[in-house]
Symmetry: D2
Subunit: 302 residues, 4 copies
């Protein structure tokens, strides 16, 4: 994997036909959809990928098939966040066996732990990781907003980047500044709306959930940002805002974003919209809204 | 298992010699220590038991050995909280095979879910549970403070009780009131300090972490509460407060309580104080303090 | 004022006819209602008294009339919580001029300040207070849950007690334990449901919002708690729970408790239900429910 | 006042010689410092201005002198946030008498209120306001993150803009998008780091605390943003980041930013560094660090 990791790396949703069964054809469709959209890498088993809801068997099958389908056309990084070191290492080991490119790790997330405890944990787990690793800040799920000091510690231990999904742009900017003299260390936005700011200010890419649905839009926005083409950025950014205001905004609860993405992909006949437990796919009424929104969005995307 | 579940049910710590190895002799010592102290049941694989930090293999070994050691002298309930339904059902299934008595379930805890989503999840998982189940409210770890309505839904689906570790006594009282006409449904305090209040006001017991160390103290306090012996309660409660102010109060971070309990048991030569990752056992300095405190506490316990 | 402050001290609501006008007759009715119910003191200008919503002129008028109406039959303490020291000292000074008995102070509540900053603030303001003072822990409004160390500092500086409205019973118990050897220092529950626990475990009283409506109920519960009459406590406590489940439970938003109390007093023809801005009194529909609940409650109170 | 309000509008600190005394000479120095730096307006009595810590007398004196010193060279808007409508209207009325330009209002901040209650409050207070008004989102102090719907309601009632100090850039972008077709309505960043993003994406200005110290830097960054001069933005933005990492980063607690600004101004001999209670100015050690940082910063500013 060429460092630093760069560009649009979708947090790939996991297509399912039921709680324990991969939607194999859907996964194939999805990966071709993403790669033909020009994405620069894939992030499997992230939050949007419902990783923590899946059995280990299913996670392994997903990785195996992904590896076979991608055929090394782009780098694939794999979320190994778990509450137990054992679980993290199992997925990391399997990723290495498959020849995937890296792993992504967030704090163990059941018991609240302190920054200092997280740093100690990294000292323990990092020597056991068989692949390059990125850090993943996701306080909404893990209850820990990793301090800059914790990320610095991770870098000392070998981290090749950080994905920030905190939604806290001051933090994202602080990360960029902290690591600006480390050319191989990637600072990647987890909040897709912040893609242009990230690139314009020295960051490297975005793990954009919306790129599951509209990969080319995000790739274009990335390129416009690299080119500092402010007019093009403005036009594309408005389209990203529209996704926010439409398919992410159907239904209640935090889960509506993940549900909206899967539903949109189902409307596009790419894959099933089945959500792993504890979540449920959108109902008829919500799906109808998504269908209408997808018509509107598809019209403006081209 | 006789309903309602009653009395002192320690959240048994998991004795370890290293991150992947059970301290088998320690577990035997611990179980004898607890049963000779008169506890009314055991809660394995709870938060204090570091369940989420352990591999599934280790969890299974713990349950198998516990089952063999307890020999049905008291009921054993098992925490099956997981982020995936698969993980929960695996532990539940294994508990059933071993002939254990019940399972304890908290919300899936990675993605923030809504009360409504939790109730839907219960509708899905409960029919698959092979054993009676209790609900477990633990918002500090799961990010969800289950509403009374959610617990009512669980009861409709068959729950035999609820363990409240929210620390929110208004909520605990609301639970007791809600279920006062359901003689088989247990309301169990997860905050050990609230044991007498729970019993005096119509609740059924406590999952008291401190009962790992001083089982008889908590059993005595339970009995005094059942007898409404206010003077005895006052004396014993002061001793419980002392545990709070001593062995729970060494070191920093939330994890100091679990570390303190394991360290105290190690000082008593019952089992190892090894903590599973991401945590680390107390250092020398902290251990020294615990040793001193244990001397003082042991003196007043008798 | 005899120390420690003891018993039922209602946080007296402020009867208003509009945003800037005291309901003078209502105040007279209310005070007689409270004193004939046997309350042990009055707490004016607390959270339930909508202090921070009132102009200083109105606060002064309220205190003047209260002083004239109470005629020293019971001690009167006055909330002086403000964001500016000037505001706090103005109300404190006026309370002293009127010969009232003490003041009650919580942290300045606009800017988030640290425990250390609060302790420094106490060092500055306490020497300027013309009356004995109690501390008031109210994190839901002030954003600061004062540490035990901060309350200890306040006591060193002369505080005669603490009122705990955090809802955190572990904290309340820690306060009781900390100050158990200080016979003149009062630990007062701000959560009315915790009155019996407070008294049974060594605390001194309760600032119970519901005592505005049913003063005798709370006085009886206080006395039963002092007498350790567990059966009577159980009966009276159930009635307190019923208030919670009825008049506090009409409408949405945190403000429903204050609105419910004023509405109930209006239904009893004691005073107007007008709420100072930014709040509004209950609408017709809510009032109707309160009327029904008041019938039920009145029936069981006697 | 020309609409929309635009540019750099510092939240002017309040120079004090002690808790109740304005540093009159310091105020004069400060205003000349700001106006000669080219700022487009002044925001008096904001959070950085310690408004809520000041007596009303002092607030009035500050406004009177400011009015006399500014002599209408730039618009002056005044924070009227208070817990009581009376307090807000007093400051608003006085601002109008002095011929100042507008007022800035945040939710009443003692009792937690709901969005719906805030909207009702606006319906009540807005007709009584004698001057144009802006909304102020400051959840860290007021406990309420005003919804887009609440801001829309304010605009319907006549608001001329919103200042967003939530630190939540997704929200800031949503505000810009919501009001992009309202040419007279200003969306102003309260997080100074977000100035370029605000302007580049269609917002209007920044209330930048750091502009108290380095007004020209922020004015230059504003102009570069208006000109979409990405290279210049990058250079100036780095300087803003340096302020963050130096004078805002001395000492502990949230208050260190306000203390750092006042201390820096004192080091520049502009005004006293006295902080109103409950805060205290930086101690010797902190001041020494600020002195060193100011030397470094001054060197790079020119």
């Amino acid at each position: 994997m060429k460092l630093p990791l760069k560009g649009i790396i979708p947090p790939v949703i996991t297509p399912l036909t039921d709680n324990d069964t991969l939607d194999v054809k859907g996964l194939e469709n999805l990966i071709e959809h993403l790669l033909s959209g020009g994405v620069h890498g894939l992030f499997m088993l992230g939050t949007t990928g419902e990783a923590t809801s899946l059995s280990y068997e299913l996670r392994k099958e997903l990785l195996k098939r992904t590896s076979e389908l991608v055929k090394r056309r782009v780098p694939v990084v794999v979320g190994i966040t778990d509450t137990s070191m054992d679980g993290s290492l199992k997925i990391a080991g399997y990723s290495a066996e498959l020849g995937l490119d890296g792993v992504v790790i967030a704090p163990p997330y059941y018991m609240p732990i302190a920054q200092e405890e997280m740093r100690e944990y990294l000292e323990n787990i990092v020597p056991r990781l068989p692949l390059p690793f990125l850090m993943y800040d996701m306080p909404g799920c893990t209850k820990m907003h990793m301090s800059i000091e914790t990320i610095k510690k991770a870098k000392e231990l070998g981290a090749i980047g950080v994905k920030d999904s905190s939604g806290d742009m001051s933090y994202l900017y602080a990360l960029i500044q902290e690591f600006k003299d480390s050319p191989d260390f990637a600072v990647i936005a987890g909040t897709e709306l912040f893609l242009p700011e990230t690139i314009l200010n020295g960051g490297h890419g975005a793990v954009a959930g919306g790129a599951n649905v509209f990969p080319k839009l995000f790739v274009d926005l990335y390129n416009a940002s690299v080119d500092r083409d402010m007019e093009k950025i403005a036009i594309l950014r408005d389209k990203v805002m529209m996704i926010n205001n439409t398919i992410y905004n159907v239904g209640k609860h935090t889960s509506r974003i993940a549900k909206g993405i899967k539903c949109a992909l189902s409307v596009m006949d790419i894959c099933s919209d089945y959500m792993a437990m504890p979540l449920r796919r959108h109902g008829k009424e919500e799906r109808k809204k998504i269908e209408q929104y997808m018509e509107e969005l598809t019209a403006i995307m081209t």
